[in-house]
C-alpha cells in the first residue's frame, strides 16, 4: 500500500536463472542498500522449461504482501512468459523483452524496451549462461530502484573468483544495452 513499494518481475522459462536474478536484486536492496525486500518465485514441476517467474518487492517500509500486485517493471525472456505474466503490469510500467523471442507485445501504455538479451549474452559477453545477469543489469538500469554499484556488488558477491570478470561484463553490457535500447 505504501507509495514506495516497487514491484519487479523476472519471467521466462525454468532454467534461465531468473530466480537467481531476483535473489540478487533482493540482496542489492536488502543487504547493500538497507531497504526492505522480499523475493518470491513461482514455477512448475519441470526442472527446465515451463513458464517461470521470480518477483522482488522493494520498499522503504516493511513489506506485507510478498507477491506482486501491480508490476512496475517486467522482464519477459519468452513469449509464453510475456503472455502469461504481463497482465498485471501497471500503466506506465516498464516492459523489457528479448527482441528475438518475444514478438507479440501486450497492448497497453508501457515503456517497452527490446533488445536481444540472450544473443547479447552469447555473442557480446561470450556465454549464454549469463543471460540472467545481462537481464539483471538491464532491469537495474531501467528501474533505477537500486544503484548500479549496489547491484554489481550483489552480483559479484555471489560469483566464484574465476567468473567475476564474466559476470561483471554481463552486468555492465546489460546495463548499457538497456539504456541504449530505451533511447
Amino acid at each position: 500500500m505504501s507509495c514506495s513499494r516497487y514491484e519487479i518481475r523476472f519471467s521466462g522459462a525454468g532454467g534461465q536463472g531468473l530466480i537467481l536474478a531476483g535473489i540478487i536484486m533482493g540482496e542489492a536492496a536488502a543487504i547493500f542498500e538497507g531497504k526492505q525486500a522480499v523475493q518470491s518465485q513461482s514455477y512448475g514441476p519441470e526442472a527446465r522449461g515451463g513458464a517461470s517467474k521470480s518477483e522482488v518487492i522493494i520498499s522503504d517500509e516493511p513489506i506485507d504482501f510478498p507477491k506482486a500486485t501491480s508490476v512496475d517493471a517486467l522482464l519477459a525472456l519468452t513469449q509464453q512468459a510475456c503472455d502469461k505474466y504481463s497482465k498485471d503490469l501497471k500503466e506506465g510500467g516498464i516492459l523489457l523483452v528479448d527482441s528475438d523471442l518475444v514478438k507479440k507485445l501486450p497492448k497497453g501504455n508501457f515503456t517497452v524496451v527490446r533488445f536481444p538479451i540472450i544473443n547479447t549474452a552469447k555473442n557480446e559477453v561470450g556465454r549464454t549462461i549469463v543471460a540472467n545477469i545481462v537481464a539483471l543489469g538491464a532491469m537495474v538500469a531501467l528501474s533505477g530502484i537500486v544503484s548500479r554499484e549496489s547491484a554489481l556488488k550483489a552480483v559479484l558477491s555471489r560469483v566464484p573468483e574465476a567468473f567475476v570478470e564474466l559476470n561483471r561484463k554481463a552486468f555492465e553490457t546489460g546495463y548499457n544495452r538497456a539504456l541504449e535500447a530505451r533511447g
Binding site: M1, I23, I31, V38, D64, F65, K67
Partner: protein, 377 residues
C-alpha cells in the same frame, strides 16, 4: 558490533533456527517445497558435531527422529503434505511415548501428490487430527523468514519443555520466499532443554507422575534403562490395559498442553482496538490481510487483523473476545474452509463469519480480502 544480516529463504532460516535451538540430528526424505531445510542441515550439522541421515522414506525418517531424541539429542525432520501423511503413524508414537521432536511441514497443495510447487494451508487439521487417538498438538504457523527462524527455536523449546512433538507449518510462500533476516546472537533467544531425572537409574520411571504432568525424560545411553512402547503404558513404561491407568494417562497427556495454553498460544493483534471488521488469518495470507486492512483504513473502514501464530492449541479465548466487539469476521485461507470452522466454534454465532477460500496454487490477494471487507462492513 553490528548484527549479522542476510537475505535468506524461509526454509534456510528454519534450518538455522533449528541449529540455534541446539538441534543436532536430522532425518528426512527430500520433498518439494521443504527440501532446502534438509539441504542446509546436511551441510551444517556435520560442522557442529551433529548427524544428518536421508532415510528410505518419511515413515523411517520420523522413526529415526524419535530414536535420536530418546538419546537426548534434539531432533528434526522436514517434509510436505504427502510426507506428512506418511509420518502420522510415528507422530502418534511420539505423542504417546512423549518424545520431544520437531516436524517441519511446508504446506503445498493436496490431497495426495497435489500441486508440489503450489502454496497451500490445507494441512492445519491434519496437524491436530492426522494421527489417530486422543493426543495433544502444538502447531506453529509463521508468516515471515525472521519468524520461521524464531518459531523453529520456540518449537524446540516447547517440545523440550512439554515432552511432546511440535509441528511448524509455513505455507510454501513463507518457506520459499526470501527476506532480510537479522540473526539473534547466541543467548538472545531462550533455549530450553528437557528436564533430566533427578533420581537414580534404579528408581527412575519414564512416566513418573509424582514429578507432575511432565515427567523427566532420561537419555538412552546415560545409564537409565526403560521401556518405550506405542501401547498404553503405566508409569514404569510397560504396557497396561488397566482401565484406571489408561484413562488417567490419556487425560494427563492432553491436560499437560491444555493447562499450558497461556504459555504456548501466541498471536498478533493489528488495529483491533476499534475494529468492526476483523480478518483472521495466518502465514502468507496474513500478509495479504494486513495489506487489505491498511487499504480499508485508508477508505475509512474500521478493519483489523488477528494473526494466528500458534494454530494449535487454537486461540479460542482471544477469538471469543473479538466476537464481543466485531460486527463481522472474515477468514481467508488457502484451503476450502478449515480455520473458518474453528472460528465459528469460538464465536458461537455471536458474529457473522465468512471465509475466502483458494486452492488453485495462487495466494489470496489483498484485493480479494479488501473487496470482502467492503461487502461485510
Amino acid at each position: 558490533m553490528s548484527k549479522k544480516v542476510a537475505f535468506l529463504q524461509g526454509n534456510e532460516a528454519c534450518a538455522l533456527g533449528a541449529l540455534y535451538a541446539g538441534c543436532r540430528f536430522f532425518a528426512g526424505y527430500p520433498i518439494t517445497p521443504s527440501t532446502e531445510v534438509a539441504e542446509v542441515m546436511a551441510k551444517e550439522l556435520p560442522k557442529v558435531g551433529g548427524a544428518f541421515i536421508q532415510m528410505e522414506d518419511e515413515i523411517a525418517a520420523m522413526a529415526a527422529v524419535i530414536g535420536a531424541s530418546l538419546t537426548g539429542i534434539k531432533s528434526l525432520t522436514a517434509t510436505s503434505g504427502p510426507g506428512f501423511s506418511l509420518k502420522q503413524e510415528n507422530l502418534g508414537y511420539a505423542c504417546i511415548t512423549e518424545v520431544p521432536c520437531v516436524i517441519i511441514n511446508v504446506m503445498r497443495g493436496g490431497p495426495s501428490t497435489g500441486m508440489p510447487t503450489g502454496p497451500s494451508q490445507s494441512d492445519v487439521m491434519q496437524a491436530k487430527w492426522g494421527t489417530h487417538g486422543d493426543h495433544p498438538a502444538i502447531c506453529l504457523v509463521p508468516a515471515s523468514v525472521q519468524e520461521l527462524f524464531t518459531e523453529t527455536v520456540r518449537a524446540f523449546n516447547l517440545a523440550e519443555k512439554y515432552r511432546t512433538p511440535v509441528t511448524v507449518m509455513p505455507d510454501e510462500i513463507v518457506g520459499h520466499m526470501r527476506e532480510r533476516i537479522v540473526f539473534p546472537e547466541p543467548g538472545e533467544l531462550p533455549v530450553i532443554n528437557r528436564t533430566a531425572p533427578s533420581v537414580s537409574p534404579q528408581s527412575y520411571q519414564p512416566y513418573d507422575t509424582s514429578f507432575g504432568d511432565i515427567p523427566p525424560l532420561a537419555a538412552f545411553g546415560s545409564g537409565y534403562r526403560f521401556h518405550v512402547t506405542g501401547l498404553n503404558k503405566a508409569q514404569d513404561g510397560f504396557p497396561t490395559t488397566r482401565a484406571d491407568i489408561v484413562q488417567a494417562e490419556e487425560e494427563r497427556q492432553v491436560r499437560k498442553i491444555e493447562n499450558a495454553v497461556d504459555d504456548i498460544v501466541t498471536y498478533e493483534e493489528y488495529l483491533l482496538d476499534d475494529a468492526e471488521v476483523v480478518v483472521i488469518a495466518f502465514g502468507s495470507i496474513a500478509r495479504s490481510a494486513r495489506y487489505a486492512v491498511n487499504a480499508a483504513r485508508k477508505n475509512g473502514i474500521k478493519a483489523g487483523l488477528f494473526r494466528i501464530i500458534t494454530y494449535w492449541p487454537f486461540p479460542d479465548r482471544q477469538i471469543r473476545a473479538l466476537a464481543e466487539r466485531a460486527k463481522a469476521v472474515i477468514v481467508p485461507e488457502m484451503n476450502l474452509g478449515m480455520t473458518v470452522h474453528e472460528v465459528r466454534r469460538c464465536v458461537e454465532g455471536r458474529v457473522p463469519v465468512s471465509g475466502i477460500f483458494r486452492v488453485d496454487g495462487e495466494p489470496i490477494s489483498p484485493n480479494e480480502i479488501f473487496a470482502r471487507i467492503q461487502e461485510v462492513r
